[in-house]
């Protein structure tokens, strides 16, 4: 009865191969999910550590000169940020601003905790109340001033 054991062997090999491929797909998916979970944890941690404050004197009249709004922003969190326009989103009176530069005022290099950057936004404003909203890594800061 060799034909019986031969077919048993074939069925056995076939079922082991199916089980192995299921196991492989399963482990692969779990591996990808674990990788994504780790990255999300790092992102959330970075957002929680980020904290910036706009330190410009809102009562002063030197905030807006000749079409440029000058703001000083201090990194009061524990996350190392980049002194780069791509690091933040700026809204002036609700409109998304794209024409602005970011420069460090107390040294050079990255925007590390405790250091200050100057943001120069090119935007012409009329007299009255204005507000600038700055968003860095989900941390929102609002600065209101009057011209």
């Amino acid at each position: 009865m060799a034909s019986v054991s031969a077919s048993h062997l074939i069925l056995f090999i076939a079922s082991m191969m199916v089980a192995a491929s299921v196991a492989g797909v399963f482990t692969n998916s779990i591996g990808q999910l674990s990788g994504a979970l780790s990255e999300q944890g790092l992102d959330v941690s970075s957002d929680v550590r980020t904290d910036v404050e706009i330190i410009s004197d809102s009562g002063s009249d030197a905030i807006y000169t000749d079409g440029t709004i000058t703001l000083y922003v201090k990194n009061t969190g524990s996350e190392r940020l980049a002194a780069d326009p791509g690091q933040m989103d700026i809204f002036v009176d609700g409109q998304f601003a794209t024409d602005y530069t970011v420069t460090r005022v107390d040294g050079s290099g990255a925007w590390r905790p405790g250091s200050v950057v100057r943001i120069d936004i090119t935007q012409s404003l009329n007299s009255g109340d204005h507000r600038v909203q700055l968003i860095v890594n989900d941390d929102k800061e609002v600065f209101k001033f009057r011209l």
């Binding site: 199916v18 299921v22 492989g24 399963f26 779990i30 999910l33 780790s38 941690s45 000083y72 405790g114």
Partner: protein, 142 residues
């Protein structure tokens, strides 16, 4: 027929076990990272709540074009002189001299100590703002 069922079941169970192990370690690491960040934020919030400063005197010397500001650390946290920012008329100042209770060259500004700042600025500014490391600030009219 007999062994293939238990064999493939064993293979799938082993794969589930390995998958659970990978998932658990990633989830535990991720949760710990976020927990560390939250504790750090709580520490910073407490430090900010305990920080307070008061500008006691502001004098401008017209002849020599410098501004003297004295600020007292009225809170209960240690501040760093290097993290203090001085804004005169919303203009960021650098390269100014500082002394803490008469001692120059120190970076520690301890509770109840007075920081004296000497800034060269011309013309006379109308306002000055002092910002500390945690973000607590004080303004004064010159």
């Amino acid at each position: 027929m007999g062994f293939s069922v238990s064999g493939s079941a064993a293979l799938i169970f082993v794969a589930m076990f390995i998958g659970f192990g990978m998932f658990y370690s990633a989830a535990a690491n991720s949760a710990e990272t976020v927990q560390d960040a939250r504790e750090d934020r709580a520490d910073r919030s407490l430090e900010r709540a305990n920080t307070d400063i008061e500008i006691t005197t502001v004098n401008y010397n017209t002849a020599a074009s410098y501004l003297n500001v004295t600020v007292v650390n009225t809170g209960s946290t240690e501040l760093a002189v290097s993290d203090v920012d001085v804004l005169t008329n919303n203009s960021y100042q650098t390269g100014y001299e500082t002394t803490v209770d008469g001692t120059a060259g120190t970076d520690l500004w301890l509770p109840q100590e007075t920081l004296a700042i000497n800034v060269s600025v011309s013309p006379q500014p109308s306002r000055v703002k002092i910002v500390t490391g945690p973000g607590v600030a004080a303004t004064e009219v010159v």
